[in-house]
Amino acid sequence: MTLRTLPLALLLALGASIVRADALSDSRFTLGAFGTLGAVYQNARGLAYRRDISQGHGARAGEVDLGTDSIIGLQVTGRIASGFDAQVQETVHRDEDGLWRPELERAFLRYQPNPAVMVRAGRIGLGLYLLADAFDVGYAYLTIRPPVEIYGLLAADEFDGADASFSRQIGGGIGRIRVLGGKWPFEVAQPNGTAVQIDNDSIVGITADYLHGDWQTRAALVQIHIPGGNDPVAPALAATGFPQAVQLAGELNRSQLISYGAEIGTTYDGDPLQAALIYIHLNSDYLSGPKFNSAFALLGYHIKQLTPYASFSMTDNFGPTHTTGLPVVPVFEPLIAAAQEDQVSSQTTQRSFSLGVRYDFAPRVDFKAQVDRISLHQSELIFDYNVPPSGHTSLTVYGLAVDFAF
């Protein structure tokens, strides 16, 4: 048994004694489960549609792909003492290598001395973006998947560290401040089947929420530090001796890479309307870092068990691509191309307009059908296997999904 599968075995063992943890009962454990069986079909030849940048495989034209949205998860919560518990959550989904393997998604200790304070330490959900607190739980949100232009660019939904939340009543609602910090290991899958692994970066963030009635409003700030100095193209650029190439090499090979983001958004979850409006700005102080503005709008309308919805999401890259200054001769062409690719690899300009319907046909089970019309210029989300690359293009993605959560 590997370390990777050990948590799943522990979960299953604990599941044998499923009971309820609550101050009103003597039980010590609670078991939860969620999952999605999703099918995706798209029509653009040479492109592979992915839900997020950690997925090593995507839905290719003419094939029904079951790996984009399908997932299963188990959660065990164990009460240790009054106000003190532990939680472990394991998921199985298609990973960076295209394999279905269990992954430890959450594993933390939680201490809540009173209703106003909560502290967690361990592997915790990032929970920065509104609606994406439970990114993998399809039953928790209206659409088949969170808008990929926003949430898909997050390579990992969890970090290893600690967070603390402080809540208080303000003007009839609840104000909540959350601070977080820790290591944020993640992998970004590449079209050639490899993955770039980042495991020594760190993240700090703060969110401020105000919840009142059917409304929730959030502002968030986050900063990500990645140790640099290992850019694969920089040494060759520096070795050319051309001043512009040397300068570019220095910029690409900085020792500390910092990205910082800001979010503001609001959601309305009422009767019969459900709506969300979110704006995100992400910038980096290094050339190959992500630099984009993203926005998302959602409108749903409950009609008994049916909820038709429409959404629009977009991300626009604003990062420039710097030239090497090298003469375009055969000996330099591969280096020029590599320097270009180095900078554009994290650039995404993509928009989606989606129409769908959610049908809650049984307790804690839903069925969803969704069509996405996507246009893109350059996308880190979609693998482009065309030669030459597609450039400006568009595709239509059809999705069906059944979600459950118990």
Binding site: P115, I124, D133, A140, G270, K304
Partner: protein
């Protein structure tokens, strides 16, 4: 039968209430109750929403509130419809987001309304709900909900 009629019939069938869904919301008003000996005398609708929806579980006394749900879907549906105008599916979806992100736990679920009343009657910080006609002398009404 024309295609249009078929589509209309299909849509009509989709919109029909399914047997498991407690659509026939009880006409009687629900009340929110606490222990008869509690120092809490009244709660606002916002305070009850904050407690039952896991936002902020503190009673005006400063004690941690222990909210109690009832397992019976019809009674639960009536309560949440009157409190937050949401169906049980919407409530389930809401809790899935909080539970699987490790933010909060849903209210304790009593097997039936008698058990819920008993829990409220024996726990000073418990808070529950029942139909107005079910209120006993061992509990105290702190909020009346309109249907």
């Amino acid at each position: 039968m024309t295609a249009v009629r078929c589509i209309r019939l299909a849509l009509l069938l989709l919109l029909l209430p399914l047997p498991w869904l407690p659509h026939a919301v009880h006409a009687e008003d629900m009340v929110v109750i606490v222990n008869a000996g509690s120092h809490v005398h009244s709660l606002t609708r916002d305070q009850v929403i904050d407690i039952f929806m896991g936002r902020f579980r503190q009673l005006p006394t400063g004690a941690t509130a222990l909210p109690i749900d009832v397992a019976d879907p019809a009674e639960r549906q009536t309560f949440y419809q009157q409190l937050v105008h949401k169906s049980l599916a919407e409530i389930g979806s809401y809790w899935a987001r909080l539970v699987f992100s490790g933010q909060a736990t849903p209210p304790f679920r009593a097997p039936d309304s008698r058990a819920a009343l008993r829990l409220v009657a024996t726990n000073p910080d418990a808070i529950g709900y029942c139909y107005r006609s079910a209120v006993t002398g061992r509990v105290k009404v702190v909020l009346a909900l309109d249907h």
